[in-house]
Symmetry: C2
Amino acid sequence: MSDIDFAQLTQYSKQFTGLTGELEAVLMGLAPEMKPHLPGITDSFYNVLQGIPKTQRFLDGRIDALKQTHIRWLEQVFSGPYDTDYVKAMYHVGDVHVKVELPVEFMAGAMTLVSVRLNELLGEILVGDPSRLAKATAAVNSVLGFTLMVMQQSYESSRLAEELEKFLKITGMSRILFDNLASAYKY
Amino acid sequence: MSDIDFAQLTQYSKQFTGLTGELEAVLMGLAPEMKPHLPGITDSFYNVLQGIPKTQRFLDGRIDALKQTHIRWLEQVFSGPYDTDYVKAMYHVGDVHVKVELPVEFMAGAMTLVSVRLNELLGEILVGDPSRLAKATAAVNSVLGFTLMVMQQSYESSRLAEELEKFLKITGMSRILFDNLASAYKY
């Protein structure tokens, strides 16, 4: 993780997901209206997950702790800053997801679920202000996609590193021998 | 790909991303208003990508063909059906993305960009009907997340299969020897 250029990763991921300074301001402006509803979003999110058999082993006995972490993250989504520290933290989450053997599709699935719930909530809160509603939904989807994009990059690099370790264990090959073979290999 | 249970994958991915029959009906109901604007969404999407250095080698000389495929897919997003055939096609897209060596984060990044553009467009079209706007943005984000979730599952399994091929080539080990070692390995 130490050789990652987080400033560059932040800039690249923002450009890709359309997270502009304008949308960041929209998110922070939503904080007072959204914060009272965030625990309800988290509850609804985990209610859906609890109905999916494949998620059970990640949830059993951990729901309360997971919910607390989830609410803290949702509060960050509406408070910012969306800076390199945020990106470092989300990059770390991708690594952790590999260590706990979370299936890759959980990340996109979960982020979509949060996005749909937040969109529905915004629809209720901003029903009288449709132009603000449109900006708000764009901003929420942008920041969630930004977060997902960062997490998935560390997830993949950790997953591939783990795969190499598995290969070395199965074959009984040393890392040094493998690295020497790899550097001598002509593609 | 032949041993995938696509009916099960469809049901699982819909449950995870909240894509209900109600939201599918919302999407199909939006088709007449959205279709005339979809080529503009595709143009705007590729304009952003063209500003990102890392995407260049995937775009050069291919923009027109890519745009046509992209518009056809966007039309499907608003016409359905969101069935096992759609899931099979999107699963295949994940495989293709590995074959063309597309970085993993492009999928979440690109899907977010499309989502933000569609949200902005919905905000313009439905400015006079905020409760329909809220349902529409939820439906759009749900179907895009559903699609992403399916794509990423095939992307990962293809990527890991490719990684094993690479290890075997580098070490000169046969697939049969590796499979025998793997089945004898005590974790």
